[in-house]
């Protein structure tokens, strides 16, 4: 029963993004029905690459405000903010809920858990969210974003 539950979660996660393979680095293409789900799914994708999401049990929450010049800039700044929580504060993101989203700003509630080596696994070290080939665009089936990480 538990296994089926995990598979469902895994499918949910996988359906939101795909990995683009590149020589030196790691890129993803993220999908969302609308901008809100696109930004939430991008956050989830980032932490799905970093860790095993199933092992995160959020124990704290906080609100963040992020600004950008346009959708693409906002996306990079949003993921940078989340990555900072991990790389500087050792907090893993369980869930992100957007409260407000415009093309040049967003506010969101983050549900976090402090990293515990005995409990969590680190799959990939993502060192930075780059501007390289960044794209956020509406498509016929919803919204899409392409993001390249430095690993």
């Amino acid at each position: 029963m538990l296994a089926i539950f995990y598979i469902i979660i895994l499918m949910k996660v996988l359906s939101h993004y795909r990995v683009i393979d590149h020589t030196a680095d790691l890129g993803i293409e993220v999908f969302g029905q609308d901008p809100v789900s696109l930004f939430e799914n991008a956050a989830e994708a980032l932490f799905d690459l970093i860790t095993d999401l199933n092992r995160i049990e959020p124990a704290e929450s906080r609100t963040v405000l992020v600004c950008g010049q346009d959708w693409a800039d906002l996306m990079v700044n949003w993921l940078r903010e989340l990555l900072y929580m991990w790389s500087a504060e050792e907090k893993l993101l369980g869930e992100a809920r957007l409260k407000k989203l415009e093309e040049n700003r967003l506010s969101a509630t983050l549900y976090l858990e402090s990293y515990t080596p005995e409990k969590h696994v680190i799959k990939t070290e993502i060192k930075a969210v780059t501007y390289h080939q960044i794209r956020v665009w509406p498509s016929s089936s919803g919204w899409k974003a392409q993001i390249i990480f430095d690993t």
Partner: protein, 480 residues
């Protein structure tokens, strides 16, 4: 894929003539087989993009280990006029002053052979490695700012090493012009905990043996001899440098429109060298460069301690001396001859090493008769090289050469290629003991994931932009 029009200059040098928005031509150092591999990537397009940036002089250069990077290619060299040119964080890279240092010892392979495993395990225990690893000391912000101002000199003053280490470090381990007040709180916070850590990915510490000497005269001056045990260290400015780069990219991308520039890639974000934004980045970048030198200096100290303890010998018998420390991700204001005139330029080396010739004032006195030592790490299964700088590099590449092997496989391709194999055992069969932290580090860093370092080195040697001195074979490796 690149559709660039490429003209052959000679067997090791190729030119992309000026077209479209390019202000200068592109020049690529490569053998014909390396060039074929490079053509399959986007990196030649990136060489052309860099050639279109304001104030670039002479050419947009590429070393034979060039590969795709963000904005600027890795293995790229570009110099900009101080008055009319730009400075770009993407032309330096995230890991500011990522670099290498090589230590020589009085030991030969037989002295360590039977204790090698013990030695590698002890190094692995004493040197913090891995993702987000934190150091043995947690600095106050005030003390961290001293590190940013003083670099390796701070570390030596704290007891991590000797004065001769400073003399044998590029820029004496401390660039002038650091301003800690322009660094963000985020960068300070990340840096505070990570000083004195190796890091992860392609960073390593390698115990090696001098396998071959190509130039006896220069090797004698460098203090290298066949069968000698050496230690090669590859690390950078950790999370601190990443945050400085990130913060500067954000700031520059906001004001790049004011320059009236249409950038083909946002990661090329830049500012005029002589602008508040440009000056702020340069000062912050120097802080990160100094941080990296302090970091490598501390790791050096712990390496010495570990060797002495495991082998039960004193510092005089070990004689672990720093041969040299080079950085390969940096922007520097240097004097060069451009179109027959001596002028100051800002040289960006992203995955490229400085290669100054004999007689240059920046070369440490002890090496000045032969030229600056250059350290080229290979992958963990093959070899690393010691080269020396040349006059040809000064006239053709702003005194620059290659920096390493360069990846040919993505990390996930490497993981697939190593599935079902024991990389550790394969290395052991080659006589290399390895210890690592990250669960996929070893799979991602398999030797075949990299270009053949010997082929890369052959190109720079034949092109004359540096000369081979010695080859070092790894026997023990620790990785993050």
């Amino acid at each position: 894929m690149t559709t660039a029009n490429i003209e052959k200059i000679d067997d090791y040098c190729w030119k992309i003539p000026k077209t479209g928005a390019m202000r200068v031509p592109g020049v690529i150092y490569a053998s014909s087989s390396l060039l074929e591999a490079i053509k399959g990537e986007e990196s030649l397009k990136q060489v052309m993009n860099v050639a279109s940036l304001p104030g670039i002089v002479f050419a947009s250069l590429a070393m034979p280990d060039i590969h795709w990077g963000y904005g600027f290619p890795i293995g790229g060299v570009a110099a900009f006029d101080l008055e009319t040119g730009i400075i770009s964080p993407g032309g330096v890279g995230y890991d500011i002053n990522c670099g290498c240092r090589l230590m020589t010892t009085a030991l030969c392979e037989d002295d360590v052979k039977n204790r090698l495993e013990e030695l590698v395990v002890a190094l692995f225990q004493n040197i913090p490695t891995g993702v987000g690893s934190t150091g043995r000391l947690k600095l106050s912000i005030k003390e961290e700012k001293r590190v940013l101002l003083e670099g390796a000199k701070w570390a030596v003053r704290q007891g991590y090493g000797e004065d001769s280490d400073i003399e044998h470090t590029e820029d004496s381990g401390c660039m002038t012009g650091a301003d800690p007040d322009v660094v963000s709180e985020k960068a300070l916070e990340r840096g505070r905990k990570q000083l004195g850590t190796l890091g992860s990915g392609n960073h390593f510490l390698e115990v090696g043996v001098v396998d071959e000497i190509f130039d006896q005269k220069v090797a004698d001056v460098f203090g290298l001899r066949k069968d000698q045990v050496t230690v090669l260290l590859h690390s950078g400015s950790r999370g601190f440098g990443y945050q400085v780069c990130d913060d500067s990219l954000v700031a520059m991308s906001r004001q790049v429109k004011n320059l009236g520039l249409e950038l083909p890639d946002r990661q090329l974000a830049c500012a005029m060298i002589k602008s508040p934004e440009g000056e702020r980045y340069y000062s912050a970048m120097i802080c990160a460069a100094n941080y990296a030198w302090a970091n490598r200096q501390m790791l050096t100290h712990w390496t010495r301690e570990t060797f002495q303890r495991v082998l039960g010998i004193g510092p005089r018998d070990l004689k672990m001396e720093l041969l040299y420390d080079v950085c390969h991700n940096i922007a520097k204001k240097e004097k060069h001859v451009v179109d027959g005139k001596t002028k100051w330029v800002c040289v960006h080396r992203k995955g490229a090493t400085r290669a100054f010739p004999a007689g240059h004032e920046a070369v440490p006195r002890v090496y000045r008769s032969v030229g600056q030592p250059i350290l080229i790490p290979g992958d963990m299964g093959t070899a690393s090289y010691v080269l020396v700088g040349t006059e040809i590099a000064m006239t053709k590449t702003f005194g620059s050469t290659c920096h390493g092997a360069g990846r040919v496989m993505s990390r996930s391709q490497a993981k697939k290629a190593s599935k079902g194999r024991s990389v550790q055992r394969e290395l052991l069969e080659k006589g290399i003991i390895v210890r690592w932290t990250g669960r996929s580090t070893l799979a991602e860093e398999i030797p075949e994931a990299y270009k053949d370092v010997s082929e890369v080195v052959e190109v720079v040697h034949e092109a004359g932009i540096s000369k081979k001195v010695a080859k070092v074979r790894p026997i023990g490796v620790i990785k993050g």
